[in-house]
Symmetry: C5
């Protein structure tokens, strides 16, 4: 009988509260290739990590109905090595081709005795959005996961399993699969939050002075939104198909958990969509703002030009060298002209002030 | 047998006629945490509010089939406290996690012996749109509601229950749940009306002189529309799912009431959508208006420049110091030049007037 | 047996051929409140209008299976009065609440023994688009209609009934209901045609000189399109639901008539949609046109500036007061400079002409 | 048994290869009103055209199960005349109303013993897109077609029937109906090709010098696209409904032919849609291009202004009449100033060249 | 029993890794017309290519249940020749008409004893996107393919068949059909990658100095995206319909392979869609960038104008020839004016610097 309350109290801390990016950087010193095998049953938690030359089929334990096995492979890029390792599991050639590809859109495929899931994790590295491909093979009593680079995924889940192995074992392989999927989706909260923060940050700078960087940033955020959406959308569909009981491997018992993950993907999509709408709007605002600015400058230029030009004509007239310009010989001629110029300036200033040009 | 006419005459005053924001501010002096328990049966209306230390499981009365109980909790943010309080109701861990989250998109989930509903209320506070999370647990004979801050919700519904307890009791827990949902949806009319008023207000200022604030306001309204839509849309879906009899808890008797709430959400969405379309259009109008304005200014600048420039050349020519400039010695040379200048000005003015530049 | 040919020859003249707005203005002198009762059977047409104090329940005749009754109520805004009047018909409280509201989106609701329909009519009054709310209660052998202001609806339908009462009676209450709905939809042709004419009128002014009014008009038409669409869309859905036999009150016999109305709503929607697309395009065209205009002006300004500036420098140089400027003492110096200036002007004009700037 | 190969070799030449617009103009001298009756059976092809006064019911031959009859009516606009002519066919009043209307969106209606189809043909006449309304009544062994103006439709189909009457007779009335629909759809290829050519033509002019006509043309093409789409979309739906066996009149034998027509409408829609997308994009390009152009001009103006202005100041300074300006009396003062001016010009040119402003 | 692992190891190298465009150009020296016949069974691989006059029906071998036959026809454009060649296969006239057309949108049609597939391949030739039409007839034990120009398709598939004939024969004609479709879809990766690269390349140039070419390129890429999408979308639908078991010719055994192709089309569509979104965004960015640029230039022009204009007025004043201008006779008058001018310049520079205009 399932006791959700007990297990859930140990549930993974949702990363949208505590950003787990720290974990990721910590693990970057790990060897390039690694194979971690975690095997649990009602009374035992076994955990062993093999590196480099030890990543061999012989080190994979025999699967038994009495235990759940999670094999976590990192950095396997060689076709032959992969074939050798997966030989005991009778994995389809097409799935193996996918596993070697680093550019596979998220999908779920039912190969009968196992499910094949392709997913992605996004990270903001050095201000740039980058993704890591993740693959899951979910069998009757085992899960195999593939990554090209070590991420925090393994550490967090392993710790969680270690503390709850008995309970997880009783819930079955589908609960373990759920935990992994939940972890992947939760990881998006960090990235989408980061994305959202950038959008908000940009929004605040929107009405400051114009600069090229602003435009560049808006454009980049728009592209980030497209990338994230493009990956999150099929991930949501995958969870949705699991929720709608398309795959018999997932039992009804964990339906409520899966619904929760599905709701999270939904929430992520909506956050993303409104952030994207905001970014799209920002481009329009930026253009309008520039236009406002241009208007202001042009108004200033126009006002100054209109004020100064008659003065230039006036000084030009009395700078001419005609023999017979009577005004030049008036005693107060100069002062009259200065007065006239002042009058012109003041009148035009008043005129423009009244027309709200100043 | 239900007698809708009788009860409905006491139905809640729809807030889109009388803004209920006043109620909300009145209650802001309440203690941070509170637990209000309202219990009704055919002959009795019991109401007690506990604060601070008295918010204990012991103070929650035993539920009986002969009464309807509404427990209203405000400001519960502590995990342990929540677990303790909800212990008698056997609430799923995932629901409790949601209750503690202040950022949960509206959803409805069927946990078998109870429904869990997450919703939001939006308020314009100090010109800014803010939301408050609300959660409902709807059991067979009880409803538990959760809020982080005290809103007017409790007071209005309590008063309504007090005057109609007998009738409500006869209609059952689903009618009480409907009343709460109806109240939440009605509350949106206040906010959407406020939003709509802002849009209309902006629309009137659209063709006045350009200012940055206008642009800022349009941008803000657009974001508000996105926020409101993002919340209202799942709320409508929730009501829609109830209307389509997805949840057995709601009986056919109150179907017509639910349809009415559904229609309200529909109406809200449409008001919001056309307000949003208007706001989107306003950005284009603003840009075009700025462009018109710029055109006008530039026309003015061009006209002035074209008129004055030949005059400058003319005065420049006769300001040169060549020994041999015969015109300078003509007796009426100066007056001829002045006349020429006047001719140039008048001809160009006529020309521009004819080209509709003036 | 139905004889469509016979009846249809008396069918309402479609208002999209003859604008019926004249009718509306004619009836504007009617008293504020009125109740018109039309009762027909195979051999009789009874018609009586009550005003003010006579609008009482007693004056509503007893409904019988042997006759069709149409009760047309205008200007009833009082809750109590409405309750009293509708008391014999056992109308649901929620429907009555809607009837008193002047702002209800079009909808149809099945209350079992009657259908409740909310609709709207749009009119261009003083260049502004305004709407009037209309409600219909369609019972087994009666129809009650509600309006706040007297429109032409009553007069046209009454006349039609008077000439065809026997035939209408034989067709039943659903044909009468169809006639009313058909009339409401036909009325939209007048308004949508007016809207379409405005769009066409604006389109012709689009490439004339820029003015603010154009921008304002485009913006207003866009908003009108949003309003009209927002109302027409649910009206089409209402007719669609009737056509798809959702309501048993409408018999199969008049299916072809309803299909015709449905087709009209479809046609209206499409006219509106393409008019709206045209309006949206006009905003872009306007902006581009303004931009073209600005370009032209700026080209003119640039050309003039570039031509005049070297002349200014030239006159400036020979206006300097240096003791030793040999050219000043050349006999033909002045003429050489004038020639140089002419050369500059002509060369630049040729240059700009070749670059297609002139 | 059907022998598609044989008949199809005589199939109509698809007008998208050979524009059939020539046919249309040839027939423009025909009398305003005409009735052409074509009757075929296994061994006979009868064809008679009646004009003006001879368009009478008596001249319509009795329909028999042993022959297919096609009655083609042109220019019938009188209600009474239409009623008299159609009297033998028992056509519904609503269909007749539609036939007299020249503005009916494409639709198909099943009146039981006959299908009623409304369609349109579009032609570019004098650079303007214009449409002609066509109506079809498809009975068990007869087809009646209606046009307001003589188009090429009749001539091409008649010729085709004349050469294949026996084969067509064996295939039945639905094949004849298909031939007519196929002909109507094929005619759109001419118009959509013409539209597409205009779009391509405009696209080539897009990066030439700006002119108002370009903007006008883009706007007009956009409106043409809206018109064409608005008509083609329901025509596709009509064919689609026939293909999906909604109407029993069309037998399974000609399903593959109908699928072909459906595919053509699909292809037309897609051509139209991408042409429309291109046109929409062209407006943006035009605006950007104008903006580029403005930028260039303004850069030129700015450069010239910045270069000339210091020169003006310099000549201004030494044009002043102060008693004590020592430089004026230097022997090489004038040449120094000229040298300074040359230096300023050259330095600024280098500066602007380096900033890529030149 | 199927052994996917074995066959797949010889699977076609996916062209998105190794661009296969080289292959295509290599084969461009082939004769204009050709007919290649490949026949395989469990033990034999027969391959013969006929050119020109030898492309006759007699050279097509008799089809037998014991072998799979692939007939690859290149450059057949003559109606009679096509009829003669296809005579043994009893192909429908409409399919043959399509085969002769070079402009047919992708579609699949079930003619009972064979499937007819129309597809397209896109190539970037001389910077321009061009397409080639491909047709497939898939019978019970034969496939006929049609191309107008020789592409690499034949060579790659032939080589593949040659190495795996036994295995392919055991899998049946549907696997061969799948291989061809897979090859066509894989070919799109080359083109879409090229398209994507162009988008990325343009994106990098977006914030460099403005030039017309950029605008042209954006516009062209947008049109390319429209073309590619318009073809890929129906291709995806074709594969989708096969995957959903609409056609009995494809057995369940190769379902997983088809799913893989379907996933590829999906991936292509998404790459294309986000590239298109990026391109659309680039147009906006370009416009904003131009606007920024214009702003900058105008600011510079305004600043210079405002600084210089008072200087001009000043020199103008003291260049006037009034008899009585006392300042002219001051000993330091000239220096005072120069000082005043310096003050004006410095003050204005400080002012503009503070307003962030510099």
């Amino acid at each position: 009988m399932s006791t959700p309350q007990h297990v859930s109290s140990n549930k993974l801390v949702q990363t949208h509260n505590l950003p787990s990016l720290v974990h990721r950087s910590n693990v970057s010193n790990m060897p390039a290739q690694s194979m971690t095998i975690i095997q649990i049953n009602a009374s035992q938690f076994l955990n062993h990590t093999y590196t480099e030359a030890d990543i061999r089929t012989e080190n994979i334990p025999t699967l038994s109905k009495d235990s759940l096995t999670w094999i976590h492979l990192v950095g396997i890029t060689d076709n032959d090595q992969l074939h050798e390792l997966l030989q005991p599991f009778n994995i389809h050639e097409l799935a193996m081709e996918d596993i070697l590809s680093r550019k596979q859109r998220p999908k779920i495929e039912d190969y009968g005795h196992y499910l094949f899931v392709a997913a992605r994790i996004f990270v903001y590295k050095k201000q740039k959005l980058q993704y890591n491909q993740i693959y899951l093979i979910i069998g009757q009593n085992y899960i195999i996961t593939f990554q090209f680079e070590p991420l925090g995924l393994l550490h967090i889940i392993r710790k969680y399993i270690q503390h709850n192995y008995s309970s997880i074992y009783s819930k079955g392989i589908d609960f373990l699969a759920y935990s992994l999927l939940d972890r992947i989706v939760d990881d998006y909260f960090v990235t989408v939050d980061e994305f959202d923060n950038r959008v908000e940050g940009l929004d605040k700078r929107l009405f400051s002075n114009s600069n090229k960087n602003l435009l560049m940033s808006i454009h980049q955020l728009k592209r980030d939104a497209i990338s994230l959406r493009r990956t999150l959308s099929p991930i949501r569909d995958i969870i949705g198909r699991i929720v709608h009981n398309e795959f018999s491997l997932f039992s009804q018992d964990i339906h409520v958990y899966l619904l929760d993950v599905y709701d999270h993907t939904q929430q992520l999509m909506e956050t993303l969509d409104s952030a994207r709408d905001t970014v799209t709007g920002m481009m329009d605002v930026h253009l309008s703002y520039q236009s406002n600015h241009l208007n202001e400058q042009m108004r200033m230029l126009t006002v100054i030009t209109i004020i100064v030009m008659p003065l230039n004509v006036l000084t030009g007239i009395y700078g001419m060298n005609f023999d017979n310009i009577p005004e030049l010989h008036w005693h107060y001629g100069y002062y009259i002209v200065l007065g006239l110029m002042a009058t012109i300036i003041i009148s035009l200033l008043i005129y423009f002030y009244r027309r709200h040009w100043l």
